[in-house]
């Protein structure tokens, strides 16, 4: 079986200071129909890794090494135009803030239709029926296509974002903290929706989160990042129940459990050592 996404020795640093590695030698592979969760604290480099894969790094940052191959094709070094053909069509993206990721002056139907028109050249009645089918798929009544984002709840907006991201039936979905801003009951619904879509469309999913509870629910494999480096990677059950790296163990000790049986133990960073 060939890999859907293969990231090798990825390294990112500020353009002004190439010595300071924000993402350091990150490698992992993702297969179709599987979910990899990248977990880590703020500043661990998990979002930067995703942005680098999509070629969306800010101009102040630079990929200083490594490769990203998607469906056997090298993505690094592609022009912005070439990347635009892949982004939104073969790689779907969902971001954290359902409030700010949608344009407030356009109807949600229009926004879902944009990528269909751009990538697939759909128009007229075909476009309209595809938009309605997508809304139905994410659990929103199709007549809401004419609603503006402010008329929808946070959970519904995130459903719209999901509809946009899967509009062109991408082979891979990158989701950066898609449920962090949502209430727990809504979060549970959105996670279930993503899992269902993933298996129905056989997508590979790269899911970024800081919440180990979410990891336990949706991941097949876990990548734990700390200060820009991968400290541990493995199948979800092994990483959560039998972590090998001291940082993973320490991080798991900080997570309160719903049973309240475990004492909280903050991380002793001094013991983990300073960044190399």
């Amino acid at each position: 079986m060939s890999d859907l996404l293969r990231v090798e020795n990825l390294t990112v640093a500020p353009s002004a200071n190439p010595q300071r590695l924000l993402v350091n030698n990150v490698s992992f592979t993702l297969q179709s129909g599987k979910t990899i969760c990248i977990v880590g604290e703020s500043g661990s480099g998990k979002s930067l890794t995703a942005l680098t894969i999509m070629g969306l790094l800010s101009p102040a940052l630079k990929r200083t090494g490594g490769s990203v191959s998607f469906q056997g094709k090298e993505l690094t070094g592609l022009s912005n135009e070439q990347m635009s053909d892949i982004r939104g069509k073969r790689i779907g993206m969902i971001f954290q803030e359902p409030m700010t990721s949608l344009n407030p002056v356009l109807t949600v139907g229009y926004q879902i239709g944009e990528s269909l028109a751009y990538h697939l050249g759909l128009g007229g009645r075909a476009l309209k029926s595809r938009i309605e089918a997508l809304l139905l798929q994410v659990g929103i009544p199709p007549e809401r296509a004419n609603a503006y984002p402010d008329e929808l709840s946070g959970g519904q907006r995130q459903r719209v974002m999901i509809a946009m991201s899967i509009a062109c039936e991408p082979a891979m979905l990158i989701a950066d903290e898609p449920t962090t801003a949502l209430d727990v009951t809504v979060q549970a619904q959105i996670l279930a929706l993503l899992a269902e879509l993933k298996s129905r469309m056989n997508m590979g999913m790269l899911f970024i989160t800081h919440d180990f509870g979410v990891v336990a629910d949706i991941a097949d494999d876990v990548v734990v990042m700390f200060r820009g480096e991968i400290v541990e990677t493995g199948p979800v059950q092994q990483v959560l129940e039998d972590p090998r790296h001291p940082y993973t163990k320490a991080l798991l000790d900080c997570v309160p459990d719903a049973e309240g049986k475990k004492a909280l133990k903050p991380i002793d960073y001094a013991w983990l050592g300073q960044p190399a």
Binding site: V184, F212, V214, A216, E241, P256, A258, G260, L264, P266
Partner: protein, 270 residues
């Protein structure tokens, strides 16, 4: 007997909300609908609920930062709703708050020493020297140092700022502290540090907490009793053990079942 430090009875608060596309219509939203709670001295009552359930409105109404439509708040035998001006200010010394956002709740133009010492100044406690000493002692207690007194909030990380917020609330030696989502903006490792600090301080200073949170995993750790809010009403309240092991209301059951990772974890234990 451990008494009741604060008892709120039949609180009601209604907001008028604009409705319709251009905001000409009006809709009444019941943010608090006949809410009654009791906080036992030295214990922690957690208010849990989703966004819009009324939990932050409850905090503000208890502190009299928002006027109530109806209901009474008894704090150490005084009815707060009847107090005003100086009398209310005097009570606020015993009734402090720790806010959610450590970035927005500290004045960026004030030094940390001034922020923490302002309450002492307002309540006219001690001489300048005694105040400076109290500020220093409090900062050291929450894990900061003398060198931090002359720094501005932007020089600190989120976790450190929350320590400043805690020092500001506790320097007055209050009796009851209302914590509104005090750790939800922090990373899990920092979150664990702050939760442990709050617990230690509770034991040392005999504090009572009203702890507002949407995170049921955290609440399980910090609370003695919990009250579950939904649409401005308290749907269920009681001892934390009882509610987590045998929730009576459908809404509470649904909330507990939505805790991420819970199914997985329970399945692996059984």
């Amino acid at each position: 007997m451990s008494g009741i430090i604060l008892s709120a009875n039949n609180l009601t608060k209604t907001y008028r909300q604009r409705s319709g596309r251009f905001g000409f219509g009006h809709k009444l939203v019941k943010a608090l609908d006949d809410v009654s709670i009791n906080i036992k001295t030295g214990s922690t009552l957690a208010i849990v609920g989703e966004s819009g359930s009324g939990k932050s409105t409850l905090a503000r109404c208890l502190l009299q930062l928002l006027p109530l439509d109806a209901g009474t708040v008894q704090f150490q035998g005084l009815d707060l709703a009847t107090l005003s001006g100086d009398a209310l200010r005097a009570v606020r010394r015993d009734l402090q708050m720790v806010f959610q956002d450590p970035f927005a709740s500290l004045n960026p133009r004030m030094k940390v020493g001034e922020i923490v010492g302002e309450g002492l100044l307002i309540h006219n406690i001690g001489s300048a020297q005694e105040r400076a000493h109290a500020v220093l002692r409090m900062l050291e207690r929450v894990g900061l140092s003398a060198a931090d007194i002359n720094k501005y909030p932007h020089e600190f990380s989120g976790g450190q700022r929350q320590r400043v917020g805690i020092a500001r609330a506790l320097v007055l030696q209050p009796k009851l502290v209302i914590c509104d989502e005090p750790v939800s903006a922090l990373d899990v490792s920092i979150q664990a540090q702050i939760l442990l600090l709050l617990k230690e301080l509770q034991q040392e200073m005999g504090l009572s907490y009203l702890f507002i949170s949407h995170d049921l995993r955290i609440v399980r750790h910090v609370a003695d009793e919990i009250a579950v809010m939904h649409d401005g009403k308290i749907v269920e309240q009681g001892e934390v053990e009882a509610i987590y092991s045998a929730p009576q209301q459908l809404y509470t059951q649904n909330l507990l079942n939505s805790i991420p990772g819970r199914q997985h974890r329970t399945a692996s234990i059984i």
